[in-house]
């Protein structure tokens, strides 16, 4: 006789550990595939994981097996035209025809091994070993928010917090505790009474006595109240401070005539990375796009990346707009403000010192981190030099130079590489 077992509810993911081992073993290849894929995502696309493709030969498990060549025989079904002795020319590219019956099954194909990793795995790989600078030391010093959370039960409280199920449980157990013994006795007496009544002999006295005892017990049981204040349980709530989890990211970009689409694409990659990275620390990240030529304007994502403008360049206009927006919308101290500026380095020469002042005096004191990347193959100009003095003067401003698409991810990693100091304070 067979024995049936329903295993459907057993824990799934028996292979999770093996899958993780696989991912860890091929981390290098997977990381490469991940960083290759960075450029193809929309800035705010966070929902999806990533398709990862690594070369099959890298993950093959070698065994001794026979190769091509030599003499082989193979038997095939469905002969429709051949007689003994027929000769069939080989197809031009090696063995392709019916003679290929014993081809190896060891996966010598050149197809890549493609599989998906989840969003979390993707981000883990992408930002492996990176950390937000300056985060630890300021995160808790401006705690404003409190969150209410459930903290068990109490015996007193307002009626709206009454937990009915819990209270009734108390009621039931109290009644059992108080009446259990009597009920048992009652059952015994009733049993006796039935026995007496069934008896053929006269037992009137004994019956009467029993009945009065039964009635007394019943009355006693009935006196135990259905619900008592003792049973009542109220939900208890408490408050605790929460670290702020709001962040805003300012994307500043020069859209003057000198910035072409490729330069913008490079900047976009940088923004994507920063955005993804921030979402790992903060629950919700708002993005503000500011583009500028001689004037700055707040725009939406599409316009930011794809509309073309011409004209000169005044970088301070964007910084000033950012300052205004911060003052209007992100004054609140629990906003964590990050900014990324991308430019080809062009600026009206007289404007650059002004930018420096704006940064040092108004923006950097309220920003967590300000990153400037200059995408150019030419000589650095006044803006770069001014910014370098800013970088030297403060610790939440960096400027980096990017020449090609392939520089973006390395530069990003360089910016956020977990330094000795942050690693220690993070521990």
């Amino acid at each position: 006789m067979a024995h049936f077992i329903d295993r459907r509810l057993n824990s799934k993911g028996k292979s999770t550990i093996n899958r993780q081992r696989f991912l860890r073993r091929y981390k290098q290849q997977i990381k490469k595939a991940v960083s290759d894929a960075v450029g193809q995502r929309s800035v705010t696309d966070l929902e999806s994981g990533e398709q990862v493709s690594i070369p099959t030969r890298d993950i093959s498990e070698p065994v001794f097996h026979t190769g091509k060549g030599g003499q082989r025989e193979a038997v095939h079904p469905g002969n429709d035209q051949f007689v003994t002795g027929d000769r069939i020319d080989r197809p031009p590219q090696g063995q392709g025809g019916p003679g290929d019956g014993e081809a190896s099954n060891q996966g010598e194909g050149q197809d890549d091994f493609v599989f998906s990793i989840s969003k979390d795995e993707y981000l883990d790989l992408l930002f492996d070993d990176l950390a937000l600078p300056n985060l630890q030391k300021n995160q808790f010093d401006k705690v404003i928010d409190y969150e209410t959370y459930r903290a068990g039960y109490q015996t007193d409280g307002v009626p709206s917090n009454l937990d009915i199920v819990r209270s009734l449980k108390g009621s039931v157990s109290r009644r059992i505790a108080l009446t259990g013994k009597d009920k048992r006795r009652l059952r015994e007496l009733e049993e006796e009474l039935r026995a007496l009544k069934a008896d053929k002999h006269e037992n009137t006295l004994a019956i009467l006595e029993l009945e009065s005892e039964i009635n007394a017990l019943k009355a006693k049981i009935a006196k135990v109240p259905f619900i008592d204040t003792f049973d009542l349980r109220f939900k208890n709530y408490d408050k605790r401070p929460v670290p702020t989890s709001k962040a805003v990211m300012f994307c500043l970009m020069d859209v003057s005539g000198s910035m072409d689409q490729t330069t913008k694409d490079m900047a976009k990659r940088f923004y994507i990375l920063l955005y993804l990275f921030l979402t790992r620390t903060y629950e919700n990240v708002e993005v503000v796009y500011i583009r500028h030529h001689t004037q700055a304007k707040e725009v939406d994502e599409h316009e930011f990346f794809y509309s073309q403008e011409t004209g000169g360049t005044i970088v301070s206009s964007a910084l000033r707009l950012m300052d205004e927006i911060v003052a209007q919308r992100y004054r609140d101290a629990n906003w964590n403000i990050y900014a990324a500026q991308a430019s080809d380095g062009d600026n009206w020469a007289d404007d650059s010192p002004f930018c420096k002042d704006l940064l040092l005096n108004s923006l950097l004191p309220v920003t967590r981190y300000f990153a400037y990347i200059e995408i150019t193959e030419r000589q650095h100009q006044s803006l770069w030099r001014e910014y370098q003095t800013v970088e030297a003067a403060t610790d939440n401003f960096v400027c980096k130079h990017v020449q090609s698409v392939s520089d973006i991810y390395p530069v990003f990693r360089e910016l956020f590489a977990r330094s000795e100091q942050t690693a220690q304070s993070g521990g």
């Binding site: 067979a2 459907r8 993911g13 093996n18 065994v63 082989r72 003994t84």
Partner: protein
């Protein structure tokens, strides 16, 4: 059956949804019919699982549990991807050669499919596992699950003790040589969990002492007088993993145990490789007979039968060589048709059958199929029972492919002169010794630099594939001294075709 009137036949519900009660009822009838056909089985343990659990089972080579290794993760990812993209359906069942015999049914199956799967796996495969001589000799159904528990725990313990990386390296190398971890001639000893644990400690010590003896470097005056005459091993050894487990000079005791575990698992699966056609054929033969009988008894509806026949025919279909679906001979088709043909030859032999298959023509069919199931493997089964009629039905033809010729040649077809040749060639196609390269441990330079030499003897001039270099690196990881692979060509010439060594090592 004839006695039962229409009124006392209670037709079983044909679903399409199944319930556990219904499964039980079907199983009851299947069991009754199977017993009538004298199918001797291990007790069944039937487990219903989801698609995801099925993929887990795939990944751990069909076993209910296995040690952790990245390659199983890779297998899982592969299966999952293919399944998600719809490139592959999952099997309806997996059955494990254990006692009790564990069979997995997929939750998604309809009632008909569950009945089919129970008849196929829990009675077909199960009785094959219990009856076939190879399984009897090579595997121990009582202890395999216990052994896997032991292996999993042991390996997990090693990982804690010696680090995942080290354990993984050894396992990788063992997996590379897994196909050469099989004794083809010796009968393996039975193992049980308790024994295994008790013996494991002793073995560690004993093995190490044996190895130390072999590699003793204290000069022995007597043997010095006649240097280099000792050959080790005295005869070539085909079981590479066994040889390494017993003789590798520098392996730690726990590493030897890992080698042993991989070797044991490999050995356990060895019979399955040799009986694919028979095993599947036998299972199909019986699900066909059992379900047909259910129908004859009026227990199942026409609808049930139509669904069953639909799946059955697609399972035992053999695409022709020029069909886009063709990927070699379908073991289900060949096996099923061969067993059906044996039954036919027993019941209605023709003159031709009496000539070609005199030993079974006209015999009792049930006796004969049981005899065939018990005493053969694919290779011998085909050479014994493939009838000319079946060769004609399949329109089999043999193709000779010699790399020295610019063409391939049809060497035999399904005609009178070709029957014998086709039979031999098809049989050879299932001969594992033809399919797996013949590589043996040939020599160890015991008194010299401890080089291990393997010898490959090609068959029909078929060379080893390029992966050999990679495998030699794995071998070197286990042996830890130079390893060499030489090839002995037909004219006796020896040529070194791969080697791997650590030249910087001072020893």
């Amino acid at each position: 059956m004839a006695a039962s009137t229409a009124s006392d036949i209670k037709r079983l519900s044909d679903g399409p949804d199944w319930t556990f009660d219904l499964l039980g009822e079907y199983e009851h009838h299947i069991d009754r019919i199977a017993k009538n056909f004298r199918l001797d089985i291990y007790p069944n343990q039937i487990e219903v699982i989801t698609a995801e659990q099925m993929m887990d089972a795939y990944a751990s080579i069909g076993m209910p549990l296995n040690y952790s290794h990245w390659s199983f993760g890779k297998k899982f990812i592969q299966t999952e991807q293919q399944y998600r993209r719809g490139q592959m359906g999952l099997a309806y069942e997996i059955v494990i050669n254990s006692n009790p015999c564990i069979a997995y049914l997929m939750e998604e199956n309809t009632m008909t499919m569950q009945a089919l799967v129970m008849a196929h796996a829990c009675y077909g495969h199960n009785s094959f596992f219990k009856g076939n001589y190879l399984f009897k000799t090579w595997t121990d159904a009582d202890s395999i699950i216990d052994y896997l528990v032991f292996a999993k725990n042991y390996i997990a313990k090693c990982e804690q003790k010696h680090g995942e990386k080290d354990v993984e390296d050894i396992l990788d190398s063992c997996h590379a040589l897994m196909n050469f971890g099989v004794d083809r001639y010796k009968r393996p000893q039975k193992i049980s969990l308790q024994e295994e644990r008790n013996r494991q400690k002793q073995r560690e010590k004993y093995l190490q002492s044996q190895v130390n003896e072999l590699w003793r470097t204290v000069p022995d005056n007597k043997s010095r007088a006649t240097p280099q005459l000792v050959r080790f091993p005295s005869e070539p050894q085909e079981n590479l993993l066994y040889f390494i487990e017993k003789n590798a000079p520098l392996l730690e005791p726990w590493q030897r145990e890992l080698v042993r575990i991989v070797r044991k698992v490999s050995q356990y699966f060895y019979p399955q490789k040799q009986t694919q056609v028979m095993n599947e054929g036998w299972a199909c033969f019986w699900h066909y007979h059992i379900l047909t009988q259910l129908y004859d008894e009026g227990l199942v509806s026409d609808r049930f039968m139509m669904e069953f026949l639909h799946s059955h025919t697609s399972v035992v279909m053999q695409p022709e060589y020029n069909s886009p679906h063709y990927s070699g001979i379908n073991p289900y088709a060949l096996g099923f048709n061969m067993f059906m043909d044996i039954k036919r030859v027993c019941q209605n032999p023709t003159e031709e059958d009496r000539y070609y298959l005199p030993s079974i023509a006209g015999q009792d069919w049930l006796d004969t199929v049981h005899f065939a199931m018990q005493n053969f493997k694919d290779e011998s089964f085909i050479s014994q029972f493939l009838s000319p009629k079946l060769i004609r039905d399949f329109k089999l033809f043999a193709v000779e492919d010699d790399e020295r010729n610019p063409f391939i040649r049809v060497s035999a077809i399904h005609d009178e002169p070709g029957y014998q040749a086709i039979k031999e060639k098809l049989s050879a196609q299932y001969n594992l010794s033809n399919n797996e390269p013949n590589i043996q441990v040939y020599n160890v330079d015991v008194r010299g630099d401890r080089t291990l030499t393997l010898r490959y003897v090609p068959q029909n001039g078929i060379p080893l594939a390029a992966s050999k270099d990679e495998v030699m690196r794995h071998l070197h990881r286990l042996w830890k001294f130079d390893v060499r692979l030489e090839q002995q060509s037909a004219d006796g010439e020896i040529e070194i075709i791969a080697k791997c060594g650590n030249k910087t090592r001072g020893a």
